[in-house]
């Protein structure tokens, strides 16, 4: 291990030293706030739902859990859930890692925009992605049509859609950017001198990567991969739409049993609840492992010298070098996978099919911007756009302060059960939005929080969903914060509050911003829970896409998706720009 990799244990243990007990009590009170929030809007409703899976005729019973674990069908479903999540994670690494390399090593025009835009797939609702994939990779999609024309084939050569391959590819579309972002963050902080020294000492490029670079970016890679695995494990609309009914995961099974397969004895409901319990146990275990991996590797990488990027375009000769050629192949493939579906949706939104063939049109856009009432939305389409932004900002305003308080305590407190505690508080991450929506649907329909039909139902659901991301984004930043700076400020006469405002907050601004961006993105793209909780007039853009899709009108869902992509892309670029400027002032 290179010498400057400092273990986490070396960092000062507690900010509380010398601050006094009164402040300790104050902090405890503050900590209670997010815990109370989680208990009221997450744990209590969830426990209420899961209890159904553990009771029969009002008494405790393991019948349903046992039924699931011994049934061949459910074993198949559980194994498939793991299998597709594993393949999807590997595919995400294969697609995301090279991009992290390119972003770290090379300089090219619009690099910053590309980096900002890597988060866009994350906000796209699954139903839009499924549509884009069908348009591009379907049997009658652009790609198969192109290949059939090119080689004169009669049958489509690439059976990607409606198969495991389609599910894996769609998951990679979503999650490769997570790998890119986590690895890029680690790689960028890596001092290039380690690699240079190894090269100077005669190591080949391959060995430098394997023995020097890889171990140092491994923490980022592993924590990214673990996160991706959990997401794919919990994914459900992609499996439902891209894979279709012949594929079933734990979440799909919960959805169909609880949402639609109604029986008077409520057996299916109970099986759904028991499945949710099993799924949650599995994903909580994985979250625990994820936190261990992340915690175990969390090291302070002191950057001694910034990494100088190399221009990507360096003349025609360089362009044709074999190593560069490999790079261009990757760029081509990733353009096809990431940009292709988005372009396919764009094309679909501008096209009108008629009996005489078809023509370009703007009518779908005119249609979705009508401010007039539409029964299928319960409001105007324009309201959906405003709602999305409103819910996103509202959820951010709840989750950011709560997450900040929480991350502060996690980053500072040192005690034995911390990791289990941490896992429990990360449980929203390990809970699929569909399970959360069922739990909240029950809770908001009864006292004390009869919130169904109000915007608060959706905002609270979104806050619970994005809360763990805010915390995850903030903890590392707070852990790396040098306590001496604050102590210094205080010793120079600054009040605690002033030190917080003028030293700590600006220093954690990056993390806060990263958390905010991610949180806002998740809120924008959230569909499963919103669809269940939103009453007419409370629709968001993804819900509107879903509604448009269930209409006979063909271009409108694509047009709405394009508007959504545009709004979110703009928000990210602005946020990152604003963020970097804010940072440059310190």
């Amino acid at each position: 291990m290179p010498p400057s990799l400092k273990g986490r244990g070396d960092s000062p243990p507690s900010l509380g030293e010398g601050v006094g007990e009164r402040s300790g009590a104050w902090r405890l009170g503050l900590l209670l706030l997010p815990i109370l929030f989680l208990i009221l809007f997450f744990y209590a409703p969830l426990a209420n739902l899961l209890r159904e899976g553990l009771t029969k005729d009002g008494t405790f019973s393991l019948e349903f859990v046992q039924k699931i674990l011994t049934d061949e069908y459910f074993q198949h479903v559980i194994l498939f859930t793991f299998w597709q999540a594993l393949l999807s994670t590997l595919a995400s690494i294969a697609l995301g890692l090279p991009l992290a390399y390119i972003l770290t090593r090379y300089d090219f025009p619009l690099k910053r925009a590309v980096r900002s835009l890597t988060i866009v797939p994350f906000v796209l609702p699954a139903i839009t992605v499924a549509l884009g994939f069908a348009l591009l990779f379907g049997r009658n999609g652009y790609l198969n049509q192109f290949l059939m024309n090119l080689f004169g084939l009669r049958e489509p050569p690439l059976p990607i859609m409606y198969s495991l391959a389609g599910i894996v590819l769609a998951h990679a579309f979503y999650n490769a950017p997570i790998i890119t972002r986590t690895v890029h963050a680690a790689w960028e902080r890596l001092d290039p001198r380690y690699e240079e020294s190894a090269r100077a000492l005669g190591a080949s490029r391959f060995y430098v990567f394997k023995d020097v670079t890889l171990p140092m970016i491994l923490p980022g890679l592993l924590s990214g991969a673990a996160l991706v695995f959990i997401f794919c494990f919990l994914s459900f609309p992609i499996v439902l739409s891209v894979g279709g009914g012949r594929f079933s995961t734990i979440e799909v099974e919960i959805y169909t049993r609880v949402v639609t397969m109604l029986d008077p004895q409520l057996t299916n409901y109970k099986i759904g609840a028991a499945l949710a319990l099993i799924g949650l146990t599995l994903s909580l275990t994985m979250t625990y492992i994820y936190l261990r991996v992340q915690g175990g590797f969390a090291r302070q990488l002191e950057q001694l010298r910034p990494r100088p990027p190399v221009p990507l375009f360096a003349g025609v000769r360089d362009f044709l070098r074999p190593t560069k050629l490999l790079l261009w192949v990757y760029v081509l493939v990733s353009l096809l996978i990431f940009v292709g579906p988005v372009l396919a949706i764009l094309a679909d939104s501008l096209w009108e099919e008629t009996v005489f063939g078809g023509h370009w049109t703007l009518r779908w856009y005119a249609y979705i911007f009508t401010p007039q009432y539409e029964a299928f939305l319960g409001d105007s389409p324009l309201r959906a756009i405003l709602n999305s932004i409103g819910f996103g900002v509202g959820a951010m305003l709840i989750a950011l302060p709560m997450g900040l308080i929480f991350a502060y305590v996690i980053a500072r407190l040192r005690w034995g059960g911390r990791r289990i505690f941490d896992t429990l508080l990360m449980a929203p991450l390990a809970t699929s939005s569909i399970v959360l929506a069922f739990a909240l649907l029950r809770a908001f329909n009864a006292p004390p929080f009869r919130l169904m039909g109000t915007p608060y139902a959706v905002i609270i659901a979104h806050s619970v969903i994005i809360f763990p991301f805010v915390v995850r984004a903030l903890v590392p930043v707070l852990e790396n914060l040098d306590v001496k700076l604050i102590e210094g400020a205080q010793s120079l006469g600054a009040s605690r509050l002033r030190a917080l405002r003028e030293i700590e907050l600006p220093l954690v601004a990056t993390g806060l911003l990263a958390g905010a961006v991610f949180a806002f993105a998740l809120s924008l793209g959230e569909m499963s829970a919103t669809l269940m909780l939103a009453r007419p007039g409370l629709n968001t853009m993804p819900v509107a896409v879903y509604r448009f899709l269930s209409q006979h009108s063909l271009g409108a869902p694509s047009a709405m998706s394009v508007v959504m992509i545009a709004v979110s892309a703009l928000a990210f670029i602005l946020l990152e720009r604003w963020g970097e400027r804010a940072l440059q002032r310190f």
Partner: protein, 345 residues
């Protein structure tokens, strides 16, 4: 610092403005009628017309359609809400094959002609429910639909058995019987033809023909019109929407589908709910159904559009399983079906 504070203020301000605009939109609330209905009714049915006209006739009344999923999902939602503390729903509208389940839960109020005068206009053959807890307002036939630009008439399968031939490999898109009422009807249709004991064997042979099983009718139909497969499970009246897509009747059959509306037992506004049902059955609304829902009206006095004489197909053999048989076996059928399509065994 100042700029950042201004930005934060702007953010908070805009959220406030947004939530105020919301409460303004909600203000002026008189009496409200909440209608639970499957999503396609609000997407392309006459929901907008019904809302506007009913509100015009009943000043101070607001109609709210809640349509978060297909018919079965709305029913499950209703049951779960009632069991967990109450539902805002006053009226429920759903598909006939879900009716037995609704009755098992005793969700709806029995109705007579004195409650809903327009009930007398409904064709007797449609009154499937002797207690009249759900009153039929429209009906149609589930069939296969094919793309006439992809399949020539001589290439079409004529029977259910033909469908399993290798020439139709990956040529059919269907819906999930667990989540979609159209998919459910198709499953029941195969059970009608192959029986309680034989239908799983038939499905085993049918699997290679199926390109994909989509969660709902809309997604399936979208893939069909995008040319992903030349056949889809849909309605016999689809040619009225686009002449390119024609009905295909295996065994010369079509599976009956009937939609009914009822009043939720817990409603606090039964009078308004009855008026709503009566309005739903009025000639005025009923004559909108062919063009919007692409369904036959239940009211026998409602006139069909001129072109329906040629484009709307009534299958020579309309079939349907008895509802009590469905009620008794449905859960097992769905479970067995799901096991087969997911594991292939």
């Amino acid at each position: 610092m100042l700029r950042r504070a201004a930005l934060v203020a702007l953010l908070i301000g805009s959220v406030l403005a947004w939530s105020v605009s919301f409460s303004v939109a909600q203000a002026g609330e008189g009496s409200k009628l909440v209608v639970y209905v499957y999503d396609s009714f609000v997407s392309w049915g006459p929901a907008k017309f019904i809302k506007t006209e009913f509100e015009k006739r009943n000043p101070g009344v607001e109609v709210e359609f809640v349509a978060t999923g297909p018919s079965r999902a709305m029913l499950a939602r209703l049951v779960q809400e009632i069991q967990s503390g109450g539902t805002p729903a006053d009226v429920f509208m759903g598909e006939i094959n879900d009716i037995p389940k609704a009755k098992q839960f005793g969700l709806f109020v029995p109705l007579g002609e004195s409650d809903v005068p327009n009930l007398k206009t409904v064709a007797k053959s449609l009154l499937f429910d002797p207690e009249r807890t759900l009153i039929p307002y429209e009906h149609g036939f589930i069939t296969l639909v094919y793309d006439s630009e992809k399949l020539k008439p001589e290439e079409l399968p004529k029977t259910f058995a033909d469908l399993t031939k290798s020439q139709y490999q990956k040529k059919l898109i269907i819906q999930d019987a667990r989540t979609s009422s159209v998919g459910h009807a198709f499953l029941l249709w195969t059970i009608y033809n192959y029986g309680n004991l034989g239908y799983l064997d038939y499905w085993k042979q049918l699997l290679p023909t199926i390109l994909t099983i989509q969660p709902g009718w809309s997604a399936a139909y979208k893939l069909f019109t995008k040319g992903e497969a030349p056949m889809v499970v849909s309605f016999s009246t689809d040619a009225c929407f686009d002449a390119r897509y024609k009905p295909l009747l295996p065994n010369n059959q079509g599976y009956r589908t009937i939609f009914g509306a009822g009043i939720v037992r817990t409603t606090d506004n039964p009078k308004l709910a009855r008026a709503f049902l009566d309005f739903l059955l009025s000639v005025e609304v009923q004559e909108k159904l062919p063009d919007t829902e692409v369904m036959f009206p239940a009211n026998s006095q409602a006139k069909l559009p001129e072109k329906w004489r040629t484009c709307a197909v009534i299958p020579p053999n309309p079939v349907m399983l008895p509802l009590d048989l469905v009620a008794e076996n449905d859960d097992r059928w769905l479970d067995e079906w799901a096991r087969l399509v997911v594991t292939g065994r």
